[in-house]
Symmetry: C2
């Protein structure tokens, strides 16, 4: 029985990305649309800067997709800030119905999954998904204010300063200028908690959730890693990525050749001093927009799996002695053929 | 042009509610399934108690709906706590795919809307929506720890201690024992911010969002208040409810006869000392489950409009001088006929 796999027929119409200086200087820097080197985006607060990145990213996506606000049926958005204020303030100026998400760093895939469902099943012709994270707003909320200069653990990850916005359309409609990338299947994740209590090792907390979703997907879809050109997780980082490969191998699935993690790709590990790799809602969003989609749209990759991984704890829940629950949502992305050059 | 209205064909299969002592003592007390008079639900922390209410409510809904975990395609859940930990920990024990929401107090309608879309369009035969709030966890997060004994403003609302869980099924399938209530249409809200900065007057911040959604609904559906037996908002309270009626009247829509607010219904205003009325994600959820659904299922009400209203700020965003953004999602609920007695 097909327990959770959703068949989709959605086209990615466009995307917009905005990042900070560190992300621009990293190996994928050229792929991002907008950058403010000091990460302030003209705002007085870090939270305001994060909101502004979302606004800018969605504006870029609307412009690239040649869409007006009224073309978008509904907007899915969320972020890491308490009460998701990055999204609620950032997208306030858009006259588009808004459904807020909280999936921690899984938000990019969650928003794309729900957008793809709504367009594939004919609810709306077009939907949008937006998410963000900001190093400075995340550090002071989850860890300590930057001014303290706290020392970072080797497994600690670096929250990506970045926002990604995606317009998704019903593939049965001819959208002029749509990208050559389709979302063909999706599998929502099940929350699991495997006894990790260390907020400086979120990769270890999230790896079991990614393994669970991948194993369910391969089983339900009767596919295997070799059927894919690449298998990407959102922000397991170096530590979590190794654990995921081990967990999969223990279940008889070797995906060493196909596997990479957005958090490992976005920075140069040693040169940029990022310890465990990148993380945050913005990590998988900007890597998808700035690096993965161009490779799909060019036909270099015909079919990939993309998972955003989220750690669903709060600073308070950890202080209260709870473990870190995690979730991973999966999307199957395919080259749609045609001649559309990614811009 | 139909800009946002979604036609649905979803049946409410069952619901479960869990509340604290104050809610049980209120005028709707008899309608709730479970109660712990001291609101602790056997847990050491208020956050833990909130999670436990969600777990209990979903268990009741599964039992009443004669459903196993594997019958549910996906679970939509969210709450008011930072990073929505009420939901992520509360529902951790269920082996059901999880899509997290953040809609503040609009979460009940948001979860039901998305559940109804997925079942009506044939993605899954059944979905579930769960939400909660807890007076004690909300007070210390949004205002001050209870031990401070802070004085409350006259317009301040009382966060409902309660959780509601709903199973929703595709109405084209014969679900044995389904309730006689259908979700027939929905309209997602647009976030708006009208200059209210006072966290002790959230009704005023949310009323314009409710008015916007209602006016769009009446226009797009070509209906008027007299077409409905009742029009319910989630938690505008006494202040916000009056403002909503004024805003609607200013647009030529009089709904005085049909209108009520869940936050005004759940407590006895003076006897229970609740100032502005009830609020919180749990408010509209338990009033829907414990009071509105029974009246629909008995045929007393043939058709109602139900809106959950959410204020999307954070304590930090208010300290940074921002106004309160708000959103209201609307559902049209109808008596489904038949003989099913609500239990």
């Amino acid at each position: 029985m097909n327990q959770g796999l959703i068949r989709l027929n959605a086209t990615i119409l466009s995307c917009g990305t905005a990042v900070g200086g560190k992300e621009k200087e990293g190996p994928l820097g050229e792929g991002f649309d907008l950058c403010d080197p000091d990460g302030r985006f003209g705002q007085k607060t870090w939270e305001g800067a994060e909101s502004e990145m979302q606004r800018l990213a969605l504006n870029v996506a609307l412009k690239k997709g040649a869409c007006k606000e009224s073309d978008i049926g509904v907007l899915f958005a969320g972020d890491l800030l308490n009460q998701c204020v990055g999204s609620s303030y950032g997208l306030l100026s858009f006259n588009i119905p808004y459904l807020g998400l909280y999936g921690a760093c899984s938000t990019c895939a969650e928003g794309l999954l729900l957008s793809s469902v709504l367009v594939s099943y004919g609810v709306y012709p077009r939907c949008a998904a937006v998410t963000s994270s900001h190093f400075c707003s995340a550090e002071r909320q989850y860890r300590t204010p930057l001014e303290y200069g706290s020392q970072r653990a080797p497994t600690a990850q670096w929250t990506v300063t970045g926002a990604g916005a995606f317009l998704v359309g019903d593939a049965k409609i001819n959208h002029v200028g749509a990208l050559s990338a389709k979302i063909t299947r999706a599998l929502p994740g099940i929350v699991c908690e495997c006894g990790i209590h260390d907020a400086a090792n979120m990769g270890a907390a999230m790896a079991p959730a990614a393994a669970d979703t991948l194993l369910r997907f391969f089983k339900e879809s009767c596919t295997r890693p070799a059927d894919y050109d690449a298998i990407l997780t959102g922000d397991l980082g170096f530590e979590g990525g190794d654990i995921l490969l081990d967990l999969m191998r223990a279940e008889g699935v070797d995906m060493t050749e196909q596997y990479a993690d957005c958090g490992c790709l976005i920075y140069e590990r040693k040169k940029q001093d990022v310890h465990g790799g990148g993380s945050g809602c913005g990590c998988s969003a900007v890597v998808l927009g700035g690096y993965l989609l161009p490779r799909i749209c060019s036909g270099e990759w015909k079919r990939i799996l993309f998972l955003s991984t989220g750690a669903m704890m709060s600073p308070d829940s950890l202080k209260q002695g709870q473990g870190i629950p995690a979730v991973a949502h999966l999307l199957e992305l395919e080259y749609a053929g045609g001649v559309r050059v990614y811009e």
